[in-house]
Amino acid sequence: MSLAAVNARRVLPLVTGLLLAALMLPPLAMLVHGSFAQTNAAGAVTGWTLHHFRALLTAPGVGTTLWNSLVFSAGSTVLSLAVGGLLAWLVERTNAPLRFLATLSTIISMGTPYVLHVVAWLFLLGPVGPANGLWQAAGGAGKLIEVQSMGGMILIEGFLWSPLVFLLLGATFRAANADMEEAARTSGASVPATIWRISLPLAMPAILALALFVFIRAIGAFEVPALVGIPSRIYVLTTTVFESMKTMPPDLGQASAFAVVMVAIVAVLLHFYGRLSANAEKYHSVTGKGFRPRPFDLGAWRWAAGALIVANFIIVLLLPMIALVWMALQRFPRGFSMAGLKTLTLSNFNAVIEAPNYLDLAFNSLLVAAGAASAIMALAAFAGWIAARNAPGGRVLDQLSTLSLVFPGIVLGVAVMEVYLRVPLPIYGTLWIILIAYIIRFMPFGMRYVYAGVLQLHRELEEAAAVAGAGTLTILRRIVAPLLRPAMVAGWLFIFLIANKELAIAVLLASPGAQVAAVAVFDLWVNGQGGELAAFGLLWTLLMTVVAVLFFWQSRRGGADIWGN
């Protein structure tokens, strides 16, 4: 009898935990340190203070800011859950037509850099955009939509995150036991009644867990509150805090204090999240028995559902893409107009294609994103399995790997920089540091995918292997890994796509010779080269879509379903 095998069950959480701790804790320690440190111009610590926390809590209008943050986060969470959830349900559990359109919209919008999305939306709904333009052309007075408002913020953020909801809830709905719904139907319940009284309550733990996740993410969101909220003077916690970082010298103390407070709040939320996730287990599982979910027949409602999918496709994908194409084809920004048709030009695309560095940047980006996605999924596979199986230390692993969800990007970037400057390895100044920062930043997402995936595997599948003589590692390799493959692949792709969108960290940590495409996006954006930015973004989105579709196709061929589990 091998001693290693005996200990695998105990050693595995330990090793995984150590790795996670090594990744997550040093930046956290830096944050905590920074939140209490009084520093001089050189950033050297000269003493200890509670000033940053006091400043955070006593800032003028802190109540309003807090309220705005809550409204913004709650609103965008509800919107993304409603949109993403409804679509996921239609795609996974009904016979609605054109379901592929929803998946397509999701993939492509996931591959589009955030800044571009927001820019496109601001253009579409802005004062000279087609929405208000048509309104005024139809004789409407003033503006139909004031996009730079709380409503606009919620709208844009909600649509930004609905793909995540779509993907994760899709997995839940797919694993739902159709028997329970059919039992309701045969008891005389209508389709809406069945959804309301059976499907929804069954999926509720999963939905709530996801809602909490999206909510936490929205609290830490920065791009949309800044670009959409600041012009209309609507401040949320993140935008307030970040003003302190833009002053010279940058004041990291308050941002660190904010991050520390957020980590504390989120630790509490995560506690509940863990319990919700655990409850989600009761309701769905891929058992060792034959399992084939059967879709709802929507009857005449099919076409209404199809119309909804098409509407989503138009709103989430088609309109922003048209806006981007329009912007990319103009030499300077202008609203949709006949006059604009005469000035169409490919010069922006030419500029992008001819720029000498974009190819290198793109290559580096793909390399780092793929590396981060692989490392995260590998680590998350162990951590997620241990956590989902409630093994000793599972809760700790879950918390550890979800910690970074609220580190604001730039704060995390600074913390990672501080840590790895002190590591006597060639990490700082190379692509490695961006890779490590990405791993830390996106670990929570990988964890979610694996966790949800494992919950759907009936425990007895693993127990059967154990009884058959397989040790822990063999079970992971021969049983869990193959069964988790769809969740792993989906998680990998998700991280790959969002890692390629990350701006703040990439710009901060990039160094000569170690640059990624995000730096170019940042350059173009800051420089106001909207046309070239749109052109670059479109080509980038195309590349991401090709990668995603290849994955999709490959895994379909393998007989598994990639999107979710």
Binding site: G288, K289, F291, E463, A464, A466, V467, G469, G471
Partner: protein, 366 residues
Amino acid sequence: MLTVERLTRIFANRYDTVAGGVREADFALAQGQFFTLLGPSGCGKTTTLRCIAGLEKPDAGRIVLAGRPLFDGAAGLLVPVHQRGIGMVFQSYAIWPHMTVFENVAFPLRVGRRMAREEIARQVDRALATVGLGAYGPRPATRLSGGQQQRVALARAIVHEPKLLLLDEPLSNLDAALREEMRIELRRLQREIGITTVYVTHDQSEALAMSDLIAVMDRGRIVQLDAPRAIYFTPASAFVARFIGAANLLAGVAAAAVAAGTLGAVRLDGGAVIQALFPAAAPAGTRLSVAVRPESITLGTPDGTANRLDGTLADVSFLGATLRCDVAVGAEMLRVATTADVAPAPGAAVRLAFAPQAAIALRAEG
């Protein structure tokens, strides 16, 4: 072959004080025995099984398989599940959906030991043939009916010739006809291979039909450990009597002190006095439940030594081989199974008779 001593595994329960698990279970099985853990859900039977398998870590006790200690709480010994060399069939079958039938069955031969490819193929084919799935090897495991999956799970559990076979309610997911068929099949296979088997079920007819030895469990404890006939005819407690079959239980008190294993008088709550067999000694006035099986009672044919009760026929159901009569005796409703040729009409006054040896006086519950 398998010895389980004072096995204890208690689950802490946050919400109420009645914790699940198993307490101080003791039993010993001989080679080739078919042993059933029987009881209602939550009685601890599955926990016991999972402790034997190694899927659950007992709090205390000792488990020894074929002379090899698998668990010894006092010595701090715990053999991990994958090194116990046992076979197990799960309630859900746990057929791995990403493998073919062949690969599923071959799995135990491939992990943790070196075996030639041909040898594996030979053993898998033999196991599949044993369960009647000879030609199914290349099939994807997801393309099987429930019964076929069950057979695959069984083949997988026996392919590596384990010393012990554990079955966790394997028939509960099958339809009635298939269940009947598989029950016979399973018993035949078990006899053929001669493998010591621990079987978990809540279905008393399965237990009675298949087992050499039955342990009836209630709230974590083994309340009776006996052969099926003994369990059926001489239940050790009112709980066993009720659980094992649809026994009539008549409430009463001991009219006088009675020694163990002798007949004694019981005054029923309705006033009648009957003679019953006392498995355990009881002082006068002890609250009793007298178990009488429906098939031990006859209608209207009194004989000299029999107990008699008068009642009214409330309902008659035709069950083919027998008639089921529900007879109201005072406040109690008694069930009587009688042969089909006697067919009184509901509402008729009837006299019930049963032998004193067929009436088991058990200490009342609670």
